[in-house]
Structures are given as C-alpha cells and as structure tokens.
C-alpha cells in the first residue's frame, strides 16, 4: 500500500477512524461496524498498541455503539495477530463487561466466551483466568454478574489448582450480597455443573443449588428451578431422590406463586430429567397440585403442559395415570373461573384424544370438548376449533359437528371483530375436515355474510378465505356456489360492497381459471367501469391489471384495452393514474 496511490486508499479509512468519535451516533455506529476494515488497514501491531487501548476507554458511548463494539471484538482474533495475541482483546471486553446495560454486558460475555476458545491453555491461565477473577471480585455487581457466565468456559481447560479457585469463586458469587449476582449465578448453575467432575457436582453444586433454591428472594429461587433440570440430567438415577428431589418438592410447593409458576412452566423438562419412576411417584401428585393451584397464572402454565406431560408418561401405565389422576383435574379446569386457564387448556386438551384412543375420547373427553365449545369466552372456543384436526384423526369430526356448528355460528357473529377474524382464519381448515356437503349446507352463508361485514379487515379476510376455499374445493364448486353471489354484489347500492366484488375477483381469478374469469367475471368488471363512484372505477383499473395475466390475448385487446383507455381519460386523478399504470403493466400494445 505504499507509493503515491497510498493516499487514495488511506482516505476512506481516515474517514472511518475520524468518525469513531463523530457526534452523530449513527456515524459512530457505522464506523464501529467497519472496525475490521480499520484494523486491517492499521495492521496487527498498531491495532494492538493504538486501536484497542482507545476502544478500551470508549465505554462512555451509547448502548448501541457499545453493543456493536462488543460483538465486533468477538471476531477480532485474526486482526490482532492470531491466537498468540488474542489476549489483547481482553481489556476492552473487560470494561464492556462492567457497563450497566445488560444487553451490552451479555454480548461482551458472549464474545469473551468465544475468544476463550482461541486461548492456548497457558494463555488461558495467564491472561483469561485472572480476568475472570477480577470480574468475580469486582466492586460493582455488574462485573460480578458477568463473571458468572465465564467460569464454565475456562474450567475444563485449566489445571486442578486453578479449578479449585474457580469453584471457590463460583461459591462466593452464589452467596453474594446483591440479588442480581445471585440471580446470575443461579442462571449459570446448570451450565457450570455440566463442566464439573461428578464428585464436585455432588459435593459443591448440590449445596449451592439447595441454598439458591431457598434464597430469600423469589427471583433467585425461581431460577434454581431451571438449574434443577440440568443438574438432574447429570446425576445418576439413584442419587436423584436424595440430592435433587427434596428441593424440587419444596419448589413445587413454594410460598411464592412465581416459583410454582416456574415449576409448572418447566414441567416437561423436569419430567424428562428425573425419569419415569420419580415421575410416577412424585411428579404426578405435584402436577395435580399445580393444576389445582390457587393462583390462576400457575394453573394456566400447568394446563399448557397437560398434553406434553401425558405424552411423556411411561407407556405401561400411562392410560391408568391419566384416567385416575390427571383427567379429574382437567375436568375441573374446564369450568375454571379464569378464562386464561380455560383457554390454555383448550389449546392442548384435544391432543389427549390421540393418547387415550377412541373409546376413552368419546366417553370422557368429548363431553369436555363440547363444554368448551359452549364456553362463554370466545378464545376458549377458538382454541378448540383450531385444534380439531387431532380429534378428527381419532373419532372423526362428525361426533362433534352438531355442537360445532352453533359454536362456529356464534363466533362468526361475535360482536368483537377480532373474534370474527380469528374464526375466518380457521374456515379453510374446517371446510377441509367437514367436507364440501356439510360446508355448503351450513357454513357457506356465513362466508358470504362476512363479505358485507362493516369492518374492512373482516371483508378483506373473507375474500382471502374464499380464495382458499376455491383452492380446496375446485373451480367447478366456485362457479356453482360462490361466483354468482359475489358477482351479484356488483349491483349493490353500497359502493363498499361493489368494491368487495372487485376484491373477490382479484383474489379468485387465478384459482378459478381462465374460462370463468373471462366469461363470468370480466363482463362484470368492465360494466363497473361506468360506476359513479371514483373509488370503484379506479379499483376496476386495479382489478383489470390484476386479472389481466389470467385472460387470453383476445379478451385483453378487444375488451380490456378500450375500457382502460377510457378510464385513462377519466376526470378523476386517481382513476387516471391506476388506468395508466394498468396499461403500462399489461401487454396491450
């Protein structure tokens, strides 16, 4: 890069460097994102001796700049001279690991974890491990929380003396004064346990786990539940009962609903981690209690896990456990006082039918489905309807159809348009499962009624729904059932309904194919070009542009072209605009 042209190539880099301290955050951010370009131009030596010291001290900057910097530094190893010099990146990342903004700290820790792998075992002990120690014994909790995430990456690669020190540091942080640090330690407990020797897991981790799980702060105890999963996975089955279960039982009955919520939320993971025997003896009663918890949030979280929990029960007596222990609780939840609980249950309950088989489903689950289909809360009914496919496989949907219909009709006419919107979205699915006859007989009128709903979002969804139905039932069905009705609306006195005709045509033309489009739809569209309302006329132009590709060339030239030309000289500006646009897009020349 020497010689006269050196100046040319230096200039952009010079700009980038100067903008590292520009007053405009966006420019600083851009420069930081091109840090590798700067480093490349400076060369490894100057990057190490000048750029990194400067960056180490720039922690005053905005979060987004610091975040970008923390990320860049994780990929900087080659730019400072390779693994041999990777430790030069530690000082800036160390200062980033102490800033108050969690996202920045987390990114700095992520980058530190990444570059720790590029340290040789010797460098790890000489440079990296002292940094972890400094952070772990820092004055401010920000640095100590960052330290928690670094123990597990250096532990496996250091000597046994250093390992002992690391374990000691981790222990200290687990009993730190500030809840922030204890939370960070609790959330890294599982990860740290994974890299420890089994003996130390039993001696060290278990006692830390027990202590954190009985911490005075709810927010610490609930994180111990998560650690429980990883710890239980590490221990041999015979030790679980003595080392983990007392704490887990305690957590499931914790005084704070947030901790119990966490247990409910992690229930499937816990179930897998402790294995079938403990599940049978301990988790089944615990799960029953969570389903009956006094706090609705906990019941809802547990209700969400019903299907997964039942699925993962040991197969030999799965059915018996569900029928005698779980189903009675589920029955109660169906008439819970809280609608979130009911709707959580409704979103999974149908899944039980595959597990329990046809007879049990008909005898025990069907009444529950039917009850939920009549629930006062629309979300519950919707959740049942959206999962109909599971039942269909087991008992066929006919069993349900008598109750299904009133539920659908009621949702379709719900006063809240978001509810109507939700049920429209399930229509294609329902149509597929109920079959064309049932649909024509019972549901077709609903689908047409939505086209004249007073909320635009519903009319729009209704058009889209028609398209999906045509894709399912075919063009012939469309021609006989829906096309006449849609085209009939073209004479409606309400111009919004006339426009709906156009929107439907836009959506349906492709699915209906050339013949129906040319013979039935096109004449209607062309006729509407004389509409009094300008909005209708420019939508005619837009529709013609849309259905043009479906039409044959003859129709385009002889019928579409004259109409568009007429519209292009319309008095209304918008009509002109869209007509001209259509002319330029369609192959009319």
């Amino acid at each position: 890069m020497a010689g006269a042209d050196g100046d040319d190539s230096l200039y952009p880099i010079a700009v980038l460097i100067d903008e590292l301290r520009n007053e405009d955050v966006q420019l600083r951010l851009n420069s930081i994102k091109k840090l590798s370009t700067i480093a490349l131009a400076l060369g490894v030596e100057r990057t190490r001796t000048e750029l990194l010291p400067f960056l180490t001290d720039t922690i005053y900057d905005e979060d987004e700049v610091l975040l970008a910097l923390a990320e860049q530094l994780g990929n900087f190893t080659m730019l400072v001279g390779g693994p041999e010099y990777v430790h030069c990146l530690l000082p800036p990342l160390e200062s980033l690991a102490t800033v108050e903004e969690t996202v920045v700290r987390d990114k700095a820790v992520e980058s530190l974890r990444k570059i720790s792998q590029e340290h040789s075992p010797v460098d790890l002990e000489v440079h990296f491990e002292p940094l972890v120690k400094r952070l772990a014994s820092g004055d401010w909790f920000t640095s100590r929380t960052s330290a928690c995430g670094l123990f597990s990456v250096c532990y496996p690669r250091v000597s046994s003396t250093v390992k002992a020190e690391i374990r000691q540091h981790f222990r200290t942080l687990c009993s730190d004064d500030t809840p922030m640090v204890r939370r960070a330690a609790a959330s890294k407990l599982g990860e740290f346990a994974k890299v420890l020797e089994l003996d130390y897991v039993k001696s060290d981790i278990i006692s830390l786990f027990t202590a954190l799980a009985s911490d005075e702060q709810d927010s610490v105890r609930l994180l111990a539940v998560e650690a429980c999963v990883s710890i239980a996975t590490l221990l041999p089955q015979e030790d679980l009962e003595t080392l983990v279960m007392p704490t887990l039982r305690q957590a499931a009955e914790d005084k704070s609903w947030r901790v119990r919520y966490m247990v409910a939320d992690k229930f499937s993971e816990l179930q897998k981690a402790v294995g079938p025997e403990i599940t049978k003896n301990d988790l089944v009663p615990a799960f029953q209690n969570l389903l009956k918890d006094c706090e609705a949030e906990v019941r809802a979280a547990a209700a969400n896990k019903v299907k997964e929990f039942c699925e993962n029960l040991p197969e030999d007596n799965r059915e018996q456990i569900i029928m005698t222990h779980i189903l009675p609780c589920v029955k109660e939840l169906v008439s819970d006082t809280n609608q979130h609980v009911k709707s959580a249950l409704a979103s999974v309950i149908m899944g039980l039918s595959t597990i329990l088989g046809k007879d049990n489903t008909i005898e025990h689950l069907l009444p529950l489905f039917l009850a939920q289909l009549k629930d006062e809360c629309p979300e519950v009914r919707l959740n049942i309807i959206s999962n109909l496919d599971c039942v269909n496989e087991v008992i066929g949907i006919r069993q349900l159809s008598q109750s299904l219909l009133p539920a659908i009709v009621e949702l379709a006419e719900d006063a809240k348009w978001r509810v109507r919107l939700a049920i429209i979205e399930y229509m294609p699915l329902l149509a597929g499962q109920l079959g064309v006859e049932f649909f024509d007989e019972k549901l077709n009128t609903l689908c047409m009624a939505w086209l004249i709903d007073h909320v635009y979002a519903i009319r729009e969804a209704a058009t889209c729904n028609l398209m999906k139905l045509v894709e399912k039932f075919g063009a012939e069905w469309a021609q006989n059932t829906i096309v006449p009705k849609v085209l009939g609306m073209a004479n409606d006195p309400n111009y919004l309904h006339r426009m709906t005709t156009l929107f439907c045509i836009n959506a349906l033309s492709e699915a209906c194919g050339q013949e129906i489009t040319t013979k039935q739809m096109l004449p209607v569209v062309l006729k509407m070009s004389n509409d009094q309302v300008a909005n209708v006329r420019f939508n005619v132009a837009k529709s013609l542009q849309k259905i043009g590709p479906v039409l044959d060339n003859n129709a385009l030239q002889t019928e579409v072209k004259p109409v568009l030309e007429k519209l292009a000289s319309d008095q209304d500006m918008d009509v002109k605009y869209f007509a001209q646009e259509a002319i330029s897009v369609l192959p009319l020349a």
Partner: protein, 445 residues
C-alpha cells in the same frame, strides 16, 4: 452514629436557592432524596428539573466544616406535555425521585411526574479523545491529499464533566396521577402508584408493566377512597404497602397471587369518637408511608400526626406523635384556604431512632422514639450563619403566651415544609422550604 436527634443540637450548614421573596413557581421544590450512601442529594422541582448535590470530601483541617454539599449535576428531567386524546395538560413537576442501588461507577435514579417515569444515568467523564486524520485540532479541514499515515485518536485527561442521560422512559401506564415510586429489594423491579392503581415494572423493560393493585370501582360514583402512597419493604421483595385517603394501610404479599387486590394485612386505628368532626375523614388521609430501614416498622403521616406501626400489629400504631395538635381548632380556616389538603412527608433517621416531618411556618419536627422527646425547629434565613445552633421553637395554643412562644394565629401557612430527608448514616438533614433547600447537621463538639 451520633446520639439521638431530639436532645442533640442542630446547627445550620447550608442553604440553597434564591434569596428574594417573590418565588417563581418553577423553583418550588417538590421532592428531596439522599442516595444510599448519602454522598448525593437530589431535589426535584415544579419546573421539572432535578438538581443533584454532592458531599465534598471532608476537610481534615476544619472538622466542624464537614461535608458541604455542592451542585454536582442539574438537568431537565421532565418537560410540560399535552395529552391530545384527553385534552389534558401534563405538568412537568417532579413528584418523586428514587435512587437505585449503585451498580457501577455511574449513579442511577428514577424521577417521575404525574404520568411518566424516567430512569436517569449520572456519570462522570474525565477523558476526551484527541487527534483527527482529516482535520486539525481547531477544526480546520486538512487537504485529503496530505494524508500519508493513519492516526488513531488517543484519550487525554480533561476537566471532570458530569453527564445526565435518560436511559429509559416508562410511560403510558397511568391513567391517574403518579404519587409514589419505589424500587424493590430484588434490584430488578419497581412499583409506581397512582390514585387507583399500582403497577409493577422491570427496570429494563419499558413497554410493559403489570397491574398488581386496582381499587377502581366499576362505577366511579362508588369511589370512596384513593391510594395516597405506596412503598416496597426494604428487605422482603414480596411485601409492599399502600396507604389510602381513609387512613388505612394495606400490606400485600406478592407471593400469594399475581394480583394483590386482596391485602394480607390491614393496618387501621379505630377512630376516637370524641374527636369526630366534619374534618375527621380529611385529616385522617395518609400523605406518606415509609418503612424503617430495618423493615420492622412503618411510619405514616396524616394531617396532624405521625404514627409508627409494628408490622406485626394491625389494630393500632405502637407510637403516635402529634405534629401540630394546636391546629385542631383551626381546621375550618385550614379547609377554607386548602391547607388541609397539604401532603406532608416524613422520614426516618439512619438507625430508625428518630423520625422527622414538616409543619407550617417553616417549622419541622423531630421525635426521638425511645425517650419520647420531641423538638420543633425552624428553617429560616435569619439563623443561617455557619454552624449557628438552631433554637427550639414553641407554639402557644391559647391562653397566655410565654416569652419565646409563637402564637398559633401568627403562624404563616404559606410557609410549609412538606419534604425532608435524612442522611442514611450521618446526622445531616435536608429540609425543603418553598424554594430553598436547607441543610442542617448535628453540632460537633
């Protein structure tokens, strides 16, 4: 910590703010708060400004002149706004300031007006970058062709600069006026309370908060009480209290349920029928509630008294202190001039042995709990010579006025001390009169 407050002599240390008598509305101090070490003292005013004072490092040569507070940072925390949907003006007045426990070299505080809570970072900077490639230090641009080598900026020392920057804005969660904010001992969440609701926030999340208490009746005509103050327990992360305009305090346990509409304890003193009057309900309204530092007690302030409650006893307070009982006969005129609705705050000293609260005529009161002794002091320009000892004041309720006593009728009700703060470790107090901040300290012999 030095001895108790009441028999201790207090002396003047500093006064902040303008001297002249005509007070600008914007300069009226609306909140005073020490940080957790006492090194910093923040005030908020009706103009939406926050002023932070820093305690100077003690001067070894002049031990009696310890620890003056000087301005460290001043910034505009809130601006006046207009809610176009409700056609409501939103004042910029700072209702409350709360410091966060220190997390790194910077300091953080929450400040709130009626609607919006902001998290501010106050940080120091003592280095600045130097050296450009494309321009000289004085800003003149260089000829781009003259660049032959790249220059990386270096950081050089500069005069200390204190910056306040807004880090988070927590808005759109309160329909009514925010009266309290309180940081939880988990260092992760805080609460904000308005007249009818209490919301729980995560300090890092601004776009959502959880409503944990809602006392709004379905029909607003059935409204009989409002929330006047709320605070988290200093040690138990699950416990919070809120006081009401009916004179009750409810304690909620957040472990029991996600919604704390059902309180787990209700602190209420049965009304004394002999004192019953038209004003009973107004004067029993609680204007402030504060947990003691050790978490065992809480103190409430109503119009005429300060009460200390043991958290384990709900049916009556363990201590009741009369702040200005002589006003009981004046309630009618205090009602007419609206003073009866003044919201006096109260505070504990560092080891919970003394409580302090304000009164009228720029008087403030201290009650020493174990000795049951009290004192009335005055914040005034007249005795504002350095280290001048404050003379206890006495108000004469009626009958013959002794020498040195002030008659009730000559009290100035426009001069009121609503906001006071006590240094968390030392005997240093900050007392806000209308637009002045007085700092007093105990006399060092």
């Amino acid at each position: 910590m030095a001895g108790p407050g009441a028999d201790m002599q207090w002396c003047f240390s500093q006064v902040k703010g303008a001297i002249d008598d005509d007070v600008a509305e914007a300069d009226i101090i609306s909140t005073v708060e020490f940080n957790h070490t006492g090194e910093l003292l923040a005030t908020g005013d009706k103009g939406g400004r926050v002023v932070i004072f820093q305690q100077e490092i003690e001067n070894k040569n002049l031990p009696q002149f310890r620890s003056e507070y000087n301005v460290y940072s001043t910034f505009q925390s809130h601006e006046p706004e207009f809610d176009y949907l409700k056609s409501l003006e939103i004042e910029e007045k700072i209702n409350k300031i709360r410091w966060l426990p220190q997390k790194n070299a910077a300091q953080f505080l929450l400040s709130t007006n009626d609607k919006t809570i902001k998290l501010w970072k106050i940080s120091e900077r003592d280095k600045r970058p130097e050296g450009y490639n494309l321009k000289e230090e004085d800003g003149r641009y260089k000829d781009p062709n003259s660049i032959t080598a790249l220059r990386v900026p270096v950081l050089i020392p500069m005069d200390l600069m204190v910056e306040a920057s807004p880090r988070r804005v927590f808005s759109n969660a309160h329909t009514y006026h925010i009266n309290s904010i309180s940081v939880n001992s988990d260092n992760e969440t805080y609460l904000s309370a308005d007249d009818l609701r209490i919301n729980l926030w995560n300090l890092e999340i601004t776009d959502r908060s959880f409503n944990i208490v809602d006392i709004k009746p379905t029909n607003m005509e059935e409204l009989t009480e409002v929330i006047t103050a709320a605070e988290f327990h200093p040690l138990h992360c699950n416990t919070l209290v809120y006081s009401s305009s009916k004179g009750t305090i409810r304690l909620c346990d957040m472990r029991e349920s996600a919604l704390c509409d059902k309180h787990s304890k209700l602190f209420e003193e049965p009304e004394d029928p002999s004192n019953r009057s038209f004003f009973s309900e107004i004067i029993s309204s609680i204007s402030d509630v504060k947990f003691s530092h050790n978490g065992r007690y809480m103190m409430t302030r109503d119009y005429l008294s300060v009460k200390v409650w043991d958290l384990n006893m709900e049916n009556r307070p363990v201590e009741t202190y009369q702040v200005h009982e002589y006003l009981r006969s004046k309630l009618c005129s205090l009602y007419e001039n609206d003073c009866i609705f003044d919201k006096f705050e109260c505070c504990w000293n560092g080891n919970d042995s003394v409580v302090m609260t304000g009164s009228y005529n720029n008087f403030f009161r201290m009650f020493e709990r174990s000795q049951r002794r009290d004192v009335t002091l005055e914040a005034s320009r007249e005795n504002s010579k350095p280290l001048q000892v404050l003379k206890p004041r006495k108000v004469c309720a009626g009958g013959k006025r002794k020498k040195d006593e002030i008659s009730v009728d000559s009290l100035d009700f426009n001069k009121k001390i609503l906001h006071t703060a006590w240094h968390p470790q030392e005997n240093i107090i900050a007392v806000a009169t209308t637009n002045n901040l007085y700092i007093f300290q105990d006399k060092v012999n």
